[in-house]
Symmetry: C2
Subunit: 343 residues, 2 copies
């Protein structure tokens, strides 16, 4: 059995020397290296941007969607959408574990891979069913998990769909758990969204009765959704693209003290300055939004002389899947809203 690199570089065909994610073509031979895991795939959870693009290209025709998806994998050895560059995740059952693989997986374990499909060696034998409303595709096929690939075991005490909907954004609340301290004033921008609601719950848990959690929603609808959950101390709806307006509102809600921690969960552009201005000097701005611009954040903070610590949201942190699934067990309200909206 051949020895593999933890990052899967042994499977890169072209271009040479890059990692599997940026690679154009990877080797999807379903014979494992010594540190790999072979998975019988049940469902592909295609990235939302990717699925929408494929659906549009196929003009909504299901057979055409199947053809496009099979074509992507046949060409690249993985399901990396050539237009959007994005992947998704998969659900399946462990078939075989390499002898040198370090981890707690064994044959028969049901898992969700939390690394992107854009770097996961995949073979699609057959596509059974497409569920366009939730971007899911049931297939017969196999995939490879590298040593460095993160995953979560599907819990037995909750419906699969519910677990998956939360695992999709597992990084955010787990990072909040590390950041927020008792007594902190925390602003969650986009608090009525999927990751935002998890962050609100975790932030209030950590900040405690001496802390203050402020929920800023993008619309009245999402703000009311968060208000009904009742995790935060203050709620308001506003556009985070209006930095000055956001700043004035936060000044008012914090008696001019501003926030210790600002969590940006809103996937729209130009919200960097609102996040920075809402944060006090010495505080932390955590950008979980993929619409964040590095230069707008860096130059923006310098331009207004703000000494804030700005963190690039890492979708992974140790134990993030366990931390996030636990929130659904702790809070009936979260479980209900996630069941209703996302599963």
């Amino acid at each position: 059995m051949k020895k593999g690199c933890p990052y899967g570089t042994h499977r890169v065909i072209s271009p040479k020397g890059v990692l599997p994610q940026p690679a154009d073509v990877i080797d999807n031979t379903m014979e494992i290296y010594d540190n790999e895991v072979l998975i019988d795939v049940q469902t592909l959870n295609v990235d939302s941007a990717s699925f929408t693009q494929i659906e549009e290209q196929a003009k909504g025709d299901l057979d055409e969607i199947k053809k496009i998806m099979k074509g992507i994998v046949a060409k690249a050895g993985k399901h990396k959408n050539p237009v959007t560059g994005s992947g998704g995740m998969l659900i399946g059952t462990v078939k075989e574990v390499g002898p040198a693989y370090k981890g707690d997986l064994k044959a028969g374990d049901k898992i969700a891979t939390l690394v992107s499909l854009s770097l996961t060696p995949l073979v699609i034998d057959e596509i059974f069913e497409i569920r366009p409303d939730i971007d899911q595709v049931d297939i017969k096929g196999q995939a490879i998990l590298f040593q460095s690939g993160i995953y979560a075991k599907i819990p037995e005490d909750m419906p699969e769909g519910l677990a998956l909907s939360a695992l999709d954004v597992a990084g955010a609340p787990a990072q909040v758990a590390k950041l927020v301290k008792p007594g902190d004033t925390v602003l969650v921008i986009g608090g009525g969204g999927k990751s935002g609601m998890l962050c609100l719950y975790e932030a209030k848990k950590r900040a405690g009765v001496t802390g203050k959690v402020i929920c800023m929603g993008h619309s009245e609808k999402s703000t009311n959704r968060a208000r009904n959950l009742g995790f935060a101390d203050e709620y308001f709806a506003a556009s985070a693209t209006d930095a000055v307006d956001t700043y004035n509102k936060i000044m008012e809600l914090t008696d001019g003290q501003l926030c210790d921690i600002v969590i940006n969960c809103v996937n729209i552009e130009n919200t960097e300055m609102a996040s920075i201005l809402a944060c006090k000097d010495g505080g932390t701005v955590y950008f979980f939004s993929m619409a964040t611009s590095f230069t707008k954040a860096a130059l923006g903070a310098e331009g207004v002389g703000k000494d804030v610590n700005m963190i690039v949201g890492n979708g992974y942190t140790k134990g993030h899947a366990d931390i996030t699934l636990q929130l659904l067990r702790e809070s009936d309200k979260l479980r209900e809203v996630f069941t209703e909206l996302y599963s």
Copy 2:
């Protein structure tokens, strides 16, 4: 006297509701609000990208450069290059301080503003001299510093040009001073560059004899420059766009332990993965490079399952100018190389 907003929003003409930096047109009337500082400008230190663009547009003709620069300011009320979007900084003497301004400035102080020209109200009466080799332009004119605008007093114990060359990158070593602890293993990517050399010096000072500082240079030339300074423990030249190669080299130099802190100072694209792979789990990657892509960093770390703390380089942190100027006083070697190369 009218009351001003600390961020200068009172000077924004269009579009309404934005901050002065993204604004198209700001009010450059040289009559101060109560919390502003009026400056008699001596020299504009135009951002390198901006100056290069203007020089090319003018085909190197000095009179044409003057015309373009005056045109930008006449139209926008500030020197924000409409093509590059960037500004620069200025040197001048404080003429008047508003009664509500909080800070230690008084009339007669010679300062360099460290906020961008892209947000600084400016009037150019006359352009005296252009020094294309160092992007500097001597003018007769005036500018406004907002309450939030950062600046440094020009020190009297070193040549002006030397101080300015270091102030230009003051954020980087000041952030290193906050991050690096005794015993840390630190990688500086781009250690032979301007900010890289300052970071190497500060990193070794903080990591101490029990720590290890590794300098990675982009070329043999820049690596040798750093080697001659002698601040680091290890030196090598390689391309940080090759993540796998960088990872293997760092594994070798750290006995498989990888680094506690990785400082990225190299202004080229696609160096995120090399920075992430070189860092150990639980470590910190500090991106000072403006070529950093937020999504490449965020998705890259998740893709390889790295639990690293990734920080957006903030050009400002409290005391950054003092910290950086002090390095030039402490180290004769730094002072020599900065005098030779940048002043």
